[in-house]
Symmetry: C2
Subunit: 267 residues, 2 copies
Amino acid sequence: MKTDAYLVREGKKLSLKDYTTDGTKGVSKEEAEVYKPQLQLHLFKLQERLHAEEQQSLLVVLQTRDAGGKDGTIKHVFTGLNPQGVNVTGFKEPTPLELSHDFLWRVHAHTPAAGMIGVFNRSYYEDVLVTRVHGEIDKQETQRRYEEIRAFELSLQNRGTRILKFHLNISKDEQKRRFQDRLDDPEKHWKFSPNDLKERALWDEYTKAYEKTLSATSTATAPWYVIPADHKWFRNDLIMRILLETLNDMNPQFPKADFDPSTIVIE
Amino acid sequence: MKTDAYLVREGKKLSLKDYTTDGTKGVSKEEAEVYKPQLQLHLFKLQERLHAEEQQSLLVVLQTRDAGGKDGTIKHVFTGLNPQGVNVTGFKEPTPLELSHDFLWRVHAHTPAAGMIGVFNRSYYEDVLVTRVHGEIDKQETQRRYEEIRAFELSLQNRGTRILKFHLNISKDEQKRRFQDRLDDPEKHWKFSPNDLKERALWDEYTKAYEKTLSATSTATAPWYVIPADHKWFRNDLIMRILLETLNDMNPQFPKADFDPSTIVIE
């Protein structure tokens, strides 16, 4: 499967209506299920090398609307990796301490160390999305933050961190179905907040904010992907394939011994 | 299986020679393999509730000698849990900054938040084991640290953290086999350090330090288990069963809604 169909090219002015929310690229759910264990095993093996090598790291940024599938993606894509090499950080409303710093301060503390895969469940991109939609920052400040984000990501990359950014692209109807599902199932009530409906009313404003943000911050080396996310199984399959391509390209190696193993005698 | 046969009773003066390294309690490797997916599924489901509930947390401390199986335990027992709810922290030689603080400072920063399972790959127990064996602290300081550890663990428990401490108990022969295996397989060279042999030469000193430490710090609510760890599959099986018992006992629940779902209409 060619994954770069979902990539946002650097400098491209993106319109979300050009991206499908329910496409499945001719893949069936059954096929995806057959391939999943193989994909997981490949990812596990590459992660093992990445962790042993301890030279490079991978940062995965997950952004989407409410009920867009961040938690589900983490559950399905990253369960099966060795948690010793994965660090998931969720970013909620900033605390007073966090707000007393620049917006990258709290995320910087959680970027992946060499050998690690870091997953951001929401991220510093909230600071140009939710804040912009709610009028907390103006156009000029938004532009300034885009620049700061590009510089920040470049700084991570210079140290050996690869960055993948996924916008999980769901339709307004699919969000409605998922909200309703959360309301109908007592075990899912805790996932719903009446406040989610206020954000849903701002659907078009968020669309515009995502379009501007993705256009301004997708670079050749820290690209955004717009993932069709109405079908959870396709979303998972596609993200696993992109992770696999990326880790293959990073090509981590087990470290060589700095001693001669043949000379060692164990008493 | 009764797991409390492996528990160190509070106040008991423990002798490691009373604990098997290669026992398998009449369980066969084949049986353990059959039950593994079921155990994993149960753990996954309980972890999901723990994370949703966000009231309690679980801290798992792994200690053992070199090649004792800490990494392997994490790989086999915790792969399959949702990494969003698991936080693994490895403690290596303290940095100068860490050494400028008390020995609990660096670990406190990594204790599990409500809803999380925290796994310590080595821990603050190194500060009464390796330091004591190498004569960096005297008997009096060791006793003081035992008291500090008990108070620290009590403080975590008062906030809703359950603590499980596993000493992976391997034989000297098994350690030799594992070292040799690391020397023979180029993909495992990085796991071996010639320094490991110096620590191996202190086998009996470590035995004594473990015995004193486990005797002094196993409490009814933060118990040590001595896990027979020569057979990796039995070690994994036993630890999974103890985790399952503990999580069942913690009995986490999905939070109830603080709104009336039936009144909500999604536009």
